[in-house]
């Protein structure tokens, strides 16, 4: 079953066609990447895939559900989650609370139950806390559960973003530059983490990334964007050697007369 599908989506901002004719189809447990120079439209694609922007053409499907005119929270309800390029944690909340917050829509007690603490209020709270702790333990953040999210070191903040997205129990998770600002050790950790998410939790993953080594080592399929167009796509070996890709990044024609 396709967990995420973009069917020829484009978006136009006034006179600017930021993304043109982008298509994608991912199935369960697949790991794809979108790369491209800065300003190519990668985050814009993400925003369309998550409901923050509405494509002016084309359609997005999450778990085979048509998502036109849906709000972002509906995308999450349909089984998709994302992280952000500049971290968007709930800074004044604790690490644990951040993870709990992502489970709001899976919480099953009514307003009345909340006010009076009757019904399954206590059960649900316990269940959510437990599930949050399991996720935190899986990524070694449980000791810092009462720290304020904004006080974590940068690398752990990024980890928390991922854990939080996972708490929504998605089928597919979108990671926007998960390795940004990290040193090589940390990048290895991220690679391991992403692999665990796929193997142990069974999620499909779509990443935007600039670290080529990381992308080439874990992605099964890559799409390359430049100025909103898909200039190349395929398995890593193909994309790495595609002259159009090299030109987009380096701006130099491969067959130079001086070469």
């Amino acid at each position: 079953m396709s967990v995420l599908k973009a069917d020829h989506i484009s978006i136009q901002f006034g006179g600017l066609r930021a993304v043109n004719n982008f298509s994608l189809e991912m199935n369960e447990k697949e790991l794809f990447a979108i790369i491209g120079p800065n300003g190519a439209g990668k985050t814009t694609v993400f925003n369309m895939l998550t409901g923050l922007y509405q494509p002016t053409e084309g359609a997005v499907y999450v778990n085979e559900k048509l998502m036109t005119n849906c709000k972002p929270y509906q995308f999450t309800e349909a089984g998709l989650a994302r992280t952000f390029q500049n971290i968007r944690l709930f800074g004044q909340a604790t690490v644990l609370d951040n993870v709990k917050m992502a489970q709001t829509f899976r919480t099953n007690y009514s307003y009345y139950n909340m006010l009076t603490r009757t019904g399954n209020y206590y059960e649900e709270e316990k269940r959510i806390t437990q599930r949050s702790m399991e996720l935190l333990e899986m990524f070694d953040l449980q000791d810092k559960r009462n720290y304020f999210a904004s006080n974590l070191p940068y690398g752990e903040q990024r980890k928390l973003e991922i854990v939080r997205a996972l708490a929504t129990d998605p089928k597919v998770i979108l990671l926007d530059e998960p390795a940004a600002g990290m040193n090589p050790n940390e990048i290895d950790d991220v690679i391991t983490l992403i692999r665990r998410v796929r193997e142990e939790l069974g999620k499909a993953i779509l990443i935007i990334e600039h670290h080529m080594k990381m992308v080439m080592s874990i992605a099964e399929y890559i799409k390359v964007l430049d100025f909103g167009e898909t200039i190349s796509e395929g398995v890593p070996e193909v994309v790495q050697n595609d002259p159009k890709v090299i030109e987009a990044y380096l701006g130099v024609h491969v067959n130079d007369s001086r070469g």
Partner: protein, 347 residues
């Protein structure tokens, strides 16, 4: 026996809360606290309810509502109208007075909640300063409408409201309001609101229907404000629309921020202290409001987390938030400067 003692120790508020009431009531009965002071205490309680309600919207959900007095006005006038009409119909035995009062309060709360819905819905798209202005505007519009409505006394005000509120009822509603807010905060609803406050876009993306929760916060807050309005009407027994203008709304803003925005305990402290302060300073006559204003600036400049430092009383047993909770005895100890980071708090 030992088990009961242990339970009581952990849930000491079960004893302390009634005790405070009995203490105040006793002092009143003994004539040590005169009626004026009792009324100040009751007004302090009403302000606590209002500040708590404002905390739900401004503190918890991070919205900027500065016209809250409008909801109080709706609650006050609707409940007063109800009880006046019933009483003027005549011939009610004293035992049913309580029922009338509770019904009036309920109606005041519901009416205010309806307004909360009416105002909350169109303003969902607005952010920050614009939201502030529109809520201010709504508050003033409500006031203007009351001013021109003859059946509720228009610009002359409404008199003759039966004296149905007393220390007991106000105290009870204050405690109820505190627990409502605590239950709200310590639940998925409260957490959703905090997520909206901290990062609305991220909240949207994490499956939180921001529109729904903003409205829930607004309506709950308006209901509480309506209840406070009913208390107010039946305590002072006279209502005038100009009382519920922008100045009153800013009062509650001041209590909230001075006490510590986002914190339930802070709202209690802020509201009660700053209600009592002008009375205590009354001997300074014209200068007391000058001091009041200056104090506000000083607090904001030098203690921005608020008087209570964003902490919460431990009796509230809040699981949300990593702030060290404060027990009653801690209040009397020298408070170490709270580092709001890396705290192993409650869990």
């Amino acid at each position: 026996m030992v088990k009961t003692m242990k339970w009581l120790k952990r849930n000491s508020e079960v004893i302390i809360i009634p005790f405070i009431y009995i203490l105040i009531a006793g002092l009143q009965r003994a004539g040590i606290l005169n009626n004026y002071i009792i009324q100040v205490i009751m007004l302090g309680g009403i302000n606590i309810i209002m500040t708590e309600s404002l905390n739900l919207v401004n503190g918890l959900t991070g919205q900027n509502s500065i016209g809250h007095a409008g909801f109080m006005a709706v609650g006050a006038y609707v409940s007063a109208l109800f009880s006046k009409v019933i009483f003027n119909a005549g011939g009610l035995p004293p035992t049913s007075q309580t029922l009338v009062f509770l019904l009036a309060t309920l109606m005041g709360g519901i009416a205010a909640a309806i307004f909360g819905y009416l105002i909350g819905t169109p303003t969902l798209r607005l952010k920050g300063d614009y939201l502030a202005i529109v809520t201010l505007g709504f508050g003033e519009v409500i006031r203007s409408i009351i001013r021109i409505t003859p059946p509720v006394g228009a610009a002359r005000g409404m008199t003759g409201i039966p004296k149905l509120a007393n220390l007991f009822w106000v105290y009870l509603f204050v405690i109820l309001a505190i627990y409502v807010c605590r239950n709200f905060m310590d639940s998925s609803y409260g957490r959703a609101c905090m997520a909206i406050r901290d990062n609305e876009i991220a909240a949207d993306t994490m499956g939180i229907n921001t529109a729904k929760y903003k409205i829930i916060a607004f309506v709950t807050s308006a209901f509480l404000a309506g209840v406070a309005g009913s208390m107010y009407a039946h305590t002072l027994r006279y209502l005038h629309p100009d009382v519920f203008g922008y100045t009153k709304s800013t009062d509650f803003l001041v209590y909230l921020y001075a006490g510590g925005v986002g914190s339930i305990s802070g709202s209690i402290l802020g509201a009660f202290t700053l209600t009592a302060l002008p009375e205590v300073l009354r001997f300074m006559k014209e200068w007391r409001l000058v001091i009041y204003g200056g104090l506000l600036v000083v607090i904001i400049l030098f203690r921005p987390v608020g008087m209570f430092g964003g902490n919460e009383f431990s009796f509230l047993k809040l699981k949300t938030g990593g702030i060290k909770s404060v027990g009653f005895s801690d209040l009397f100890k020298r408070k170490r400067h709270q580092e709001l980071s890396n705290k192993e708090g409650i869990q």
